[in-house]
Symmetry: C2
Subunit: 205 residues, 2 copies
């Protein structure tokens, strides 16, 4: 199980499998097959078997996968068998939505701070959070040892904040701004945008 | 170019290529290579070449891809060389964020209506939109011939609304609710959630 050996493209699929398996577990299922998983996630059964086999022998021919076991293994592989502190930068609509999102804690994430560069928002509350000034971002994030940030500020300010995040030691940025960020090679960026997801469906319309 | 022949897994990558290419175009670039694209999107150059070659011969050995040409072709393949009307169901934080999102119009989408099932929100404004009652959803969506919806309501109400959307003729649902939807086979569902994207990065931390 060597990080360098597994192609990134396989890594991108594992959280999708994990989400499907966790939902199956919530609905009381104990075992599944690559066929059933495939129908749920829209990936071929053969691909799923191949992806999962990269990490060892998880299923038995004829009996399928144990859901709790595979959930545990995927959580371990993806390092979400622990909790990660995460910050939100940008207290607009999306920042509010993320601050109130219920789906982080059972997936390995814990929002701990929210920042904005708009002085009129600093000091305001979102739920239990008090919005903090991005002027203090580097110091606060560095001293707390936080490695993950979600960036929900407008495109015009995103690059500047991304540089501050890198300076603060952040190694993973989930970018909601519709621009490409220039960050050091050791900082991972994932883009999340609804248009990309919609375009995955228009092909079939 | 037969919809049945191209694996869904390839289709899911094309919008990522298109987004990267459109950003390159915006920054003034005219040509690119599978290597350069690969660095931008985190997918191997070989995979990119293989994916794109499914649809014909777009690049020339040694000269790379023409960005405007490949953008046009991908838009055509994904059927976003036209505009699609889209509705939002759920006028909470996420619904507000989507209603104000600037990244739809240049990617093939046009938000036309916003619905909520909370009577106290019906009639309120979000920008130029007036929030409409989900009680009228089937009738309004059907008569407007809308095929695409973004679902940003809480998990408890999502299944019921998904059924209404299917009844109204919607064929593509972008689901922000953290549950699996049961819909007819001819309705595509894409899940979008930040935790999945974060888990694609924790592996490397």
């Amino acid at each position: 199980m060597n990080a360098e050996k597994i192609p990134n493209i396989i890594i991108t699929r594992l959280p999708v499998y994990l989400r499907a398996l966790q939902r199956m577990a919530e609905s009381g299922l104990k075992t599944t097959s690559s066929q059933e998983m495939g129908e749920r996630v829209g990936i071929s059964a053969a691909q799923i078997r191949k992806d999962i086999s990269q990490f060892g022998e998880f299923g038995k021919q004829g009996t399928g996968y144990s859901i709790p076991y595979l959930v545990d293994k995927l959580r371990e592989i993806l390092k979400v068998d622990r909790m990660w502190d995460v910050i939100i930068v940008g207290a607009g609509d999306m920042g509010h939505a993320l601050a109130r999102y219920q789906g982080f804690s059972n997936r390995g994430f814990n929002v701990v701070m929210i920042f904005d560069n708009d002085k009129s928002k600093v000091g305001q509350k979102i739920g239990d959070f008090t919005i903090e000034d991005t002027a203090n971002l580097v110091e606060k994030v560095k001293s707390a040892g936080i490695k993950i940030a979600m960036l929900t500020i407008p495109a015009t300010a995103a690059q500047e904040i991304a540089e501050k995040l890198a300076q603060a030691g952040v190694k993973a940025i989930l970018n909601y701004a519709p621009i490409s960020l220039n960050v050091p090679d050791d900082v991972k960026v994932q883009h999340i945008d609804p248009a990309t997801h919609l375009q995955r469906m228009t092909y079939y319309l």
